[in-house]
C-alpha cells in the first residue's frame, strides 16, 4: 500500500501523527500523476509547485493538521469551479485562457479547511455529457479499462480518485454527473440536495439542477468533504439556510430497522444483467444488515429523460448566452459587425454537444413551443418530485442502480446523442426532484468493470444516505479494489 491508495481520513491520521509530512504526501501524488496521468488524462492542469509550497508551509508549522481532517491533503477540482488566479476552462475552447478572478465558495471553504489544490480535472464541455468525450481538450480514460470512458461529466474527477491521482475531488452533478462517473470508476460520489452546497463560483449549466459534491475513495471521505463545503452562503440565494449535521458522526449507526425502498421502475429490461445482479446482491446485503426491504413505485421514472433534456438545455441556452466574446473568452478574428462577432465567436468556441443543447434549449423556449415543451416538462417535473415524496412515506431511503450499463467503449455512443441521453435514465429523476443521491461500489462485471449502487434519500437527508452507504460499504470490500495501472 502506498499513500496514493489511501483515503483522506487515513492520510489525515498519518499527517496528524507525523508519520508522513504534507510535502511527502503531495510529492507522492505528483509523482503518481507524472507516471500515470499521461495514460488516463484525468487532469487539464496541475499545480505542482504551488502545492509543494503550501505543503511546506504546513510542515513548517504554519498549518495545524489537527484543525481539520482535510489539512494538508491534496484535492482535485473539476474545471468548472473557480480557483482564484487559476485557469477555468469548463473543457471549452470558448473559455480557453480564462483566469478566475475570485474563489468559488466551495474552493474558499476547502482552502480554509487546509486542503491543498493539486489540479483541475477534465470534464464534458460545460458539464454537458455522460462520458467526458465532449471535452474540447482531451478524452479521459477509465482507469479500469483505458479503452473505455470514465463516465461524465465529472469523468476527470472520478478517474483521478480511482487512479490514485488525488486524495479526493469535487465534481458537479446536474443530471448524474457525479454519480454515474463514480459508478463507472468504482469510487464514491455524492450529489447533495439542491441548495445544500453553494454554487457561487461554479460556472452555471442548468441553474435549477446544478450541485457540487464530493468524489472519494470511500464514504467516510465523502462525509468529510461534504462537511467542508456544505452550508448556506449569502452569495448564492438558492443555497438553503438549514443546520448542517455532523455527517461523519452519523455513519456508524446501524441500518437495523430502516425501510429501504426498491423502485420497480429501476429494474427494467435493457439493464445489463451483471449490473442488475450486483444491485440485487447489494439489496440482500442490506437486508442481512437488518434493513427492511420494501417494494415501491416511482411511476413517472420513464418520463425523466424527456423532461430533463428539455429543462436542462432550456436553462443552458439562457446561461450560455453570456459567452459573447465581449467580457471574457474567445473572440473571433473575422467579423465586420457586432452580430457577426457574437455568432462567429460562439460558433468557433463551442463544441457540437454544447451547440446542440443551446439549439434545443432555444427552440423549446421559443414563441409557440414554450407550452408544448418547457411548460409540459416542468409539470412532469412536479409529478416526478411527487413520486419521490410519496415513496418516502413508505421508506426511509431508496436503493437502485446508478446506470443501466457499466462503462462503455470510447466512441461507442458519441455519434448518437439520443442514445447517450437514454443512458442517464436512473440518475435524472433524483436531479429533477432535487434529492440527494450517492453512488457506492457494489460489484464488478466479469470484464472487471465497476458497478455502483445508488442510494437516494429525502431532501436534506445526506446524513441518512451516507449512513446507509457506509454501512453497506463496511460490509463489503468492493471499495478496496484498485485498478491496475502502469506508468
Amino acid at each position: 500500500m502506498e499513500i496514493h491508495s489511501f483515503p483522506i481520513h487515513r492520510i489525515h491520521d498519518l499527517l496528524e501523527s507525523r508519520q508522513i509530512s504534507a510535502v511527502e504526501t503531495v510529492t507522492a501524488f505528483l509523482e503518481r500523476i507524472s507516471a500515470i496521468d499521461p495514460g488516463v488524462h484525468a487532469y487539464l492542469a496541475t499545480f505542482g509547485e504551488k502545492a509543494i509550497e503550501e505543503a511546506k508551509l504546513f510542515d513548517s508549522g504554519a498549518g495545524n493538521f489537527s484543525a481539520s481532517p482535510l489539512a494538508g491533503t491534496p484535492i482535485a477540482i473539476k474545471d468548472v469551479i473557480g480557483i482564484k488566479g487559476a485557469l477555468t476552462t469548463c473543457g471549452s475552447r470558448i473559455l480557453q485562457g480564462f483566469v478566475s478572478p475570485y474563489d468559488a465558495t466551495v474552493t474558499k471553504k476547502l482552502r480554509q479547511a487546509g486542503a491543498i489544490f493539486i489540479g483541475k480535472t477534465n470534464l464534458d464541455e460545460f458539464a454537458m455529457g455522460s462520458s467526458t468525450e465532449n471535452s474540447a481538450f482531451v478524452k479521459t480514460r477509465n482507469p479500469w479499462d483505458t479503452e473505455r470512458v470514465p463516465g461524465g461529466s465529472s469523468g476527470g474527477s472520478a478517474a483521478a480518485v480511482a487512479a490514485g491521482l488525488c486524495a479526493g475531488a469535487l465534481g458537479t452533478d446536474t443530471g448524474g454527473s457525479i454519480r454515474q462517473p463514480s459508478s463507472f470508476c468504482g469510487v464514491v460520489g455524492l450529489k447533495p440536495t439542491y441548495g445544500r452546497v453553494s454554487r457561487f463560483g461554479l460556472v452555471a449549466f442548468a441553474s435549477s439542477l446544478d450541485q457540487i459534491g464530493p468524489i472519494t475513495r470511500d464514504v467516510e471521505d465523502a462525509a468529510i468533504l461534504l462537511q467542508a463545503v456544505a452550508g448556506y452562503d449569502p452569495a448564492d440565494s438558492t443555497s438553503v439556510d438549514l443546520p448542517v449535521p455532523e455527517y461523519r458522526a452519523a455513519l456508524s449507526q446501524s441500518i437495523q430497522g430502516l425501510r429501504l425502498g426498491i423502485p420497480r421502475e429501476y429494474f427494467i429490461e435493457g439493464t445489463h444483467p451483471e449490473v442488475e445482479a450486483a444491485v440485487r446482491n447489494a439489496i440482500s446485503t442490506c437486508r442481512s444488515l437488518g434493513a427492511e426491504i420494501v417494494d415501491i413505485s416511482l411511476p413517472h421514472t420513464e418520463y425523466g429523460i424527456a423532461a430533463y433534456y428539455i429543462i436542462a438545455p432550456a436553462e443552458a441556452s439562457s446561461n450560455l448566452a453570456r459567452y459573447d466574446g465581449v467580457k471574457y473568452g474567445h473572440r473571433t478574428q473575422h467579423s465586420a459587425d457586432l452580430m457577426e462577432m457574437y455568432r462567429k465567436s460562439r460558433s468557433e468556441g463551442f463544441g457540437s454537444e454544447v451547440k446542440r443543447r443551446i439549439m434545443l434549449g432555444t427552440y423549446v423556449l421559443s414563441a409557440g413551443y414554450y407550452d408544448a415543451y418547457y411548460k409540459k416538462a416542468s409539470q412532469v417535473r412536479t409529478l416526478i418530485r411527487r413520486d419521490f415524496l410519496e415513496a418516502f412515506q413508505k421508506c426511509d431511503a431508496i436503493l437502485a442502480p446508478v446506470s443501466p450499463i457499466p462503462a462503455f467503449k470510447i466512441g461507442e455512443k458519441s455519434d448518437d446523442p439520443l442514445q447517450m441521453y437514454l443512458s442517464d435514465v436512473f440518475t435524472l429523476p433524483a436531479s429533477l426532484a432535487g434529492i440527494p443521491g450517492i453512488s457506492v461500489p457494489c460489484g464488478f462485471t466479469s470484464d472487471n468493470l465497476p458497478i455502483g449502487l445508488q442510494i437516494l434519500g429525502p431532501h436534506f437527508r445526506e446524513e441518512l444516505v451516507l449512513r446507509v452507504a457506509h454501512q453497506f460499504e463496511q460490509a463489503t470490500s468492493f471499495h478496496l479494489r484498485d485498478p491496475e495501472l502502469k506508468g
Binding site: A306, V326, K327, L338, R343, R346, R356, V380, P417
Partner: protein
C-alpha cells in the same frame, strides 16, 4: 416519425441562439433535433392538466438585504479577461 423541425427552422433557431452553423452542421443538427424532439413526444402520454410546473426542486423565497455598498470586483480585475478593452471599457466592433 413526423418532422418536428425543418432545416429553415434550424437556421432561424441558430440565429436566435447567436450561432452560425455550417451547411454540414445544419443538416446534422436537423436530423438530431428531429430525433430528440420526436422522443420528447413521450411526455404527451401524460395528462398534466391542472399540474403546477416546478421550476425549482426546493422552495425558494425572496432574499432581502440592506442596500449597502460592499466591496466588489474592481475594474482592473473585471477587464482582465476581456478580449478587447482599453483599460476603462470593454471594446466591441462598431455598433452604429
Amino acid at each position: 416519425m413526423d418532422s418536428k423541425i425543418t432545416r429553415d427552422e434550424v437556421r432561424h433557431v441558430a440565429l436566435l441562439a447567436r450561432l452560425e452553423l455550417s451547411e454540414v452542421e445544419e443538416e446534422l443538427m436537423t436530423g438530431q433535433m428531429n430525433a430528440i424532439l420526436g422522443y420528447m413526444d413521450k411526455l404527451n402520454e401524460l395528462d398534466t392538466g391542472g399540474i403546477e410546473p416546478t421550476t425549482h426542486a426546493v422552495e425558494l423565497r425572496n432574499v432581502f438585504r440592506p442596500d449597502s455598498v460592499e466591496p466588489s470586483l474592481d475594474r482592473k480585475d473585471s477587464l482582465a479577461n476581456a478580449p478587447g478593452n482599453d483599460g476603462v471599457n470593454f471594446v466591441v466592433p462598431r455598433v452604429l
